[in-house]
């Protein structure tokens, strides 16, 4: 569950990125955040993962008040979130397999259990046959799928993706969205920021529209 209550984010230069945001996303729900670029979509997602802190208001994620979390507790919050970043943040000095393995190493999995989980995650995104290759040899769509595999390998209850289809052509983008829907169907809470509403393809979903830092629904 993700719950925002009167959240404001104001940057030191005086720019108000988010103003008085309030919404609740129940466990197992799937929602999109849309809006023009600069509307505050990324900021909102970064607040959930405590990459940034709100100026005021409270953010509850899985029963924890993220806005009041001590810095020592943040890593453990993030381990329960699957994050797909806008700039992907793939490590190009290691194989596809090792990229997906990293979250498990951080959680302290022993290598045998970890290997099974990595393969399962790669299988889900259709990259199992590429596990030994370097990420640089993957296409744009495959790199995005690699990011998704890394986000889900820890089996998080919440999946958060920032513009996961921004650099992909329509077919690839559809693929990715289908993938997110399948995670939603097995009970994962999914929150996706995108400027491309057409990807929905008619599926009924909750949509939060952001306009200059304010929710407009």
């Amino acid at each position: 569950m993700i719950s925002f209550n009167q959240v404001c984010k104001r940057y030191p230069n005086g720019f108000n990125a988010l103003r008085n945001i309030g919404f609740t996303l129940e466990a197992g729900e799937m929602a999109l955040i849309t809006g023009h670029s600069g509307a505050g979509k990324s900021t909102l997602l970064r607040l959930i993962a405590a990459i940034e802190r709100p100026t005021s208001g409270s953010i509850i994620v899985n029963g924890q008040n993220v806005s009041a979390l001590k810095s020592g507790a943040i890593p453990f919050l993030r381990r329960n979130l699957g994050l797909v970043f806008q700039d992907q943040k793939i490590l190009f000095d290691r194989t596809v397999f090792d990229n997906v393995l990293l979250p498990l190493q951080i959680s302290g999995f022993d290598s045998r259990a970890a290997t099974g989980r990595v393969r399962a995650a790669l299988d889900k995104v259709g990259l199992l046959d590429r596990e030994k290759t370097r990420p640089i040899t993957l296409s744009g769509g495959e790199q995005q799928r690699l990011c998704i595999a890394r986000a889900i390998v820890n089996r998080p209850s919440i999946l958060i993706a920032d513009e996961p289809t921004s650099n992909l052509d329509a077919d690839y983008a559809k693929d990715i969205m289908t993938m997110f829907k399948s995670f939603h169907q097995v009970g994962v809470t999914v929150l996706i920021a995108t400027h491309d509403v057409e990807l929905l393809g008619g599926t009924p979903l909750r949509i939060f529209s952001l306009n200059h830092g304010e929710l407009t629904i």
Binding site: I51, P75, L83, I106, G108, R150
Partner: protein, 302 residues
Amino acid sequence: MSVWAAHHWYAFVLAFKRLAGAPLGNLLSIIVIGIAFSLPAGVYVLLENLQAFSAQVSGAPQLSLFLKLDADSDEVAKIGARLKEHPQVASFEFISRESALEQLKQDSGLADLVDGLERNPLPDAFVINARSLSPATLKGLRAELQKWPRIEHIQLDSAWAKRLDALINLGRLAVLMLAALLSFALVAVTFNTIRLQILTKRDEIEVSKLIGATNGFIRRPFLYFGAIQGMAGGVAAWLIISLGIHLIDDDLRNLTRLYAVDLSLYHLSPEDSLTLLLFSACLGWVGAWLSVANHLWQIEPN
């Protein structure tokens, strides 16, 4: 395997991978550390050898008691009897002036010169081994014997050994100072190596933080790296000293044999070797820790 063990194993393996990842650069760092450490450790080895040598040569300190030249045999016998009864004297040996002259002739190779002397310039002498070897009792005994009649001069043979001891102590102090200075060098070398590593691993650190790595998780491989590099530097220092001893030993033995002394160099004892390795590993760890503490907080994901 527990989470704790898994984390440490991961950090340890990663540190080794990073070492192997840049073999030339890391080898050079290790050699620099080794050379820096071989200096104080080498001087220490030298001092240990010198001390062993001095103990071997000087043995227990002795008192040499020289009589006046005109002391006659009765007086000599009287002094001998008094020495026998003295509680502080363990044993003594009488060297008559004639046998002393004979020995001088044989040992010094100055036979011609000695033969040319009009009269024997050497006095009768007693060489005394005292019961106690403490410098204070030896001094007291010397002062007491000095007051006896017909005594010209008493010499404490331990004087030069004492001087050597003082010299060795001075050397020890130099070793400590050298070690302290070069320890800073090791910390500095590790600090910089780790700083460079943190800069090149920036992406990895950032991503790790984003997906839930604690600071400890990120810090650990660097600390292991510092400790491993420090210890490898210690091993390098040990090998440098071994090489030095190996090169010097034969020549030194030939040299000392000319002076009728059999001297061969000892390496660091196992305890000292272990101390060297642990010490260098600790310093590497400290350097890495300082570096990580200084640089890691600058990398915050955004």
